[in-house]
Amino acid sequence: MVPSFYLYFALALPALLALATLLRLSPAAQLRLLAFGTAGVALGALPAVIRVWAGCDEIVAAQGWLRLDALGALHVLLLLAVFVPAAVYARRYFGVEIAAGEFSAGAARRFAALWFGALAMMLLVLLANNLGIMWVGVEATTLLTAFLICTHRTAGSLEAMWKYLLMCSVGVAVAFMGILLIAAATRHTGMPATSALLWTNLMATQGKLDPALVKAGFLFLVVGFGTKAGLAPMHNWLPDAHSQAPSPVSAVFSGCLLNSALYCILRCLPLAEGVSGNTGWARGVLVALGLLSMLVAAGLLLAQRDLKRLLAYSSVEHIGVMALGVGLGGLGAFAAMLHMLGHALAKPLGFFCAGTIGQAYGTHDLRRIGGVVRQAPPWGIGLVLSLLALIGMAPGVLFLSELLVLKAAVEQQAWWTVGLYLAALAVAFIAVLRRAIALGWDSSAPPPERPSAAAAGADAWLLTILPLVLLSVLGLLLPMGLAELLLRAAMIVGGAL
């Protein structure tokens, strides 16, 4: 089969499934379609990922407008690793609501259609080789996911949706300014307008681009896409959206949506670095924003009383670690890729468990939940262990990656960075550990209102244990094949070992 066919297939499948959800199905059937359909999309996209993983440099389709390289393949892999469990978990999460008569057929249809639409658009962002098409994809994910936040139409979810919609739309509009500036920088390359905005062409003609315009464009792109990625100080929408959305959606937001926006910044980074003469100017921007995000998130983690907001601020912190790692470059870029992998395993797990425990207790208020290890076995254990993994407890992938980021900073003798990085990690560690212990073993909290919602089943054990095993095994022993993919992805953004 022609490799380019894989890319068309990966994009067309979710789009077709989005149409299929418009059939009149019962809510339960709609959720089955969601789970099996998402698994189908994963199977459809895997051949392309595997081909690149196995050593093929890139797959190109549509006359160079679609392209998958190692960086893209890693992101697609992580996207699928979040979406598939989230779709399986959605069956369980909304199953509880169907039983309570709170999830109508219309709501299920809308949810499934937007789910597949968002999946298609995120894949488009990762597969697009054209800066403009990438922008179209990012804006489309904002619009499609907005109504996923208010699946339950409460005052809080509407407020969160409106904030998300406006902040991210404006952010992405700012990013478009950046794209225009970069397009303007190609004036003297002599390329026709239709092909000037292709990544591959931009990278190939770096020498002829106007440096001042590219630099200005990069700043606009970082601020614009950084809003969507949840980098501080543009992160205000994030805790609201993550805490108000239903848990499967929160998992997708944290594990994929933020990463796909960061991915756009990662793409621009080598361009801005190359054009500005590899002085580390563009990297410095990312280091500063990464550290700021970590510090802001760490401070706010201390004050959190809501379980899902706690997880949301932890996402701001982790996006900060990724930006910092990539900004440091070299080993740091590799560590950032590894961190992305660990975060994509740990954070959705945290949101799944928080969602189910929230359903059982009827609240996400940390003061009214406690002793979950005994009260709700697989979910409680999963929640506590995912929180521990997220603060970088050994053995875990995130421990390893945070250590490597530290090593990269020490090697560069960036002592201020080292100090601030360690301070933020320590504060976040204490803030979350305190909560995790109370959540897990505080027996003074009232028992759950609806214990049946957190019933253990084969799917519950699978959803919680599998990521935990992966997190600890990969943290101890990273397989060569996977490390190679991470390294190849890191090298695209200026990494090395």
Binding site: W65, A140, C150, L158, L166, L300
Partner: protein
Amino acid sequence: MNHILDTLLVILLLSCFLLLGTSRLAAAVRMTAVQGFMIGLLPLAIEGGEIRLRVAILAALIAVLKAGVFPWLLMRTVRSAGTTHEERPLVGYGLSTLLGVAAVGAAFWLDSRLPFSAEAHSKLVVPVAFSVMATGLFLMVARRTAICQVLGYLTLENGIYIFGLAIVSGIPMLVELGVLMDMFVAVFVMGIAIFRISREFDHIDAAQLTSLKG
């Protein structure tokens, strides 16, 4: 000198002042429709004599969407939300207009410091683009009704579009169509969002959506 182009740009600038100075939502929506129509004509005016088919199609599409479909969708939203006026703006209309004048001044000053105008089709394009963008951002911050914030967003997008016309020789057709489609979905989604908010809260005062904190 391209007189038609300059005329269009001046009308765009005036529409910004009218947007800043009105409290009636219907009038504000109509003003963005006028703005959208001018935006549609801009590429034609830049082309001058020979107009290529591609440019003509895009111009027509932009004019239909921005001057027809968007205002229609927004008018429907205004009616369904049952709010006709911006009651208590965070910044009054007189002060808003004054700030608008200051923004135009700042836009011309900024333009004089930047190299864009040298290659643009008219000396007015870039400053007008900056002013329109500033107006859009200002409306989003200084107005409380959700509709005005959407109008601010559309105005911001218009400003960015004008800026693009000034500094980029050509954006690929596919990208332009994608951007327009996103804009269409954005207005559509925001319209539904406003409708739902107005049903849930009995108002579309976005400044009162402040229960989520910390």
